[in-house]
Amino acid sequence: MDVLDIIKPENRVFCKSKLMTDTALSYCPGCGHGTAHNLAMEVIDEMGIVEDTIGVAPVGCSVLAYDFMNIDMTQAAHGRAPAVATAIARTWPEKYVFTYQGDGDLAAIGSAETLHTCNRGENIVIIFVNNGIYGMTGGQMAPTTLPGMRTSTSPYGREIETMGSPLKMTELIANLPGVYYVTRQAVHTHKHARKAKKAIKKAFENTRLKKGLSFVEIVSNCNSGWKMNPIESNEWMVENMFPYFPLGDIKVNGKLK
C-alpha cells in the first residue's frame, strides 16, 4: 500500500490544535514549553470551553504565549499573573481562568502573589513550567536550580550554604488549605505527555465544579540554558531533576497524598 493512500483527511488521527496560531513558536528546539502550550490548548478544545477561557501570560520565555494561543489572553507584570487571574476570576466567576508561568516568574518574583492566591483558594488553574533556570534572560540561577548546577550566575555550581536549597514550590503550595489539586508532571515522552494532559484536564474540570485552585507543575528541560542538546537535556532531567522533583499527584480532591 502506498503512503499516499493513508494520507487522507478521513484518516487523520493527530494534528495541531486549532487553538494554536500558525505563528512559529519562539522557543528553542526541543523545549517543553511548546508541548505544554499545545496540551493546554488541546484540553480546552476538547472540553469545548474556548469561549469561556481566559489565560494570563507571564514574563519569561513564555511571555509571548498570547501570540501562540488562539484564545482570550492577557499578559501580567513579572510574577503577577495569579493576581491578575484573581481579578478576572472574581469579575467573571463563570469563566475558566488559567495562568501559565515559568519558575523565574512563579517561584521567584511572583512567590508572594502565588502563595497568597493559593492560600485564598481562587477558582483558577495555574500551569507552572519548571526548568530550573531563567531561560529568557540567558540562563541565570533560579530558585529551582539544583544544587551544584552551573548557571551563568552560579558558575561554580549552586552552593547550598550561600544560595540556599532549590525551592519546592509545589510541595509548599500543597499544604495550603485553599488548594484543591496539586500535581507534578513532565512532557518529554508520550507517556508523560498523556499523563500531563489528563492532569490539565482534571484541573479545568475542578474550575468547572468551582472546587478551588488547581496547580499543575510541569518539569521541563532548558537545553540552551543547560548547554546540552534536546535529547541529552531530557536524559539529564530524568537523572537529576526527577529525584529532587518527583512526579505524581501531591494533593487530590483537597487531600494530601
Binding site: 500500500m1 503512503v3 493512500d5 493513508i6 494520507i7 487522507k8 484518516n11 487523520r12 488521527v13 493527530f14 494534528c15 495541531k16 490544535s17 494554536m20 512559529a24 513558536l25 522557543y27 528553542c28 528546539p29 526541543g30 523545549c31 517543553g32 514549553h33 511548546g34 508541548t35 499545545n38 512532557v187 518529554h188 515522552t189 508520550h190 505527555a193 498523556r194 542538546n229 534536546p230 535529547i231 531530557n234
Partner: protein, 74 residues
C-alpha cells in the same frame, strides 16, 4: 485482527530538528534529513514508511506540532 497502517506528514518549515520524536517512536520510523529547511534545521522525515502504525507518539511530544499523523485499517 485488522492490521493498522500509519503515516506521518512533517511540516518541514516548522520542524526545528530537535529529535525528541525519534526515541519515542518504537518502530524507528523517523530519521533526520540531510537537507535543511529555511531556518537551517535538519527536519524529521519518515525514513521507514512501512513500519509506521500511526501511534501518534511522535506528534504528542513534538513541541512545535510539526507532525500530523494518519492511520487506517487495512
Amino acid at each position: 485482527m485488522a492490521k493498522v497502517k500509519g503515516a506521518i506528514v512533517v511540516d518541514t518549515e516548522k520542524c526545528k530538528g530537535c529529535e525528541v520524536c525519534m526515541p519515542v517512536c518504537q518502530d524507528n520510523v523517523i530519521s533526520m534529513s540531510k537537507e535543511v529547511n529555511r531556518k537551517g534545521y535538519h527536519y524529521a522525515y519518515m525514513s521507514d514508511p512501512k513500519a509506521c502504525n500511526g501511534c501518534t507518539n511522535c506528534g504528542l511530544v513534538c513541541p512545535d506540532r510539526a507532525i500530523t499523523v494518519y492511520r487506517m485499517k487495512v
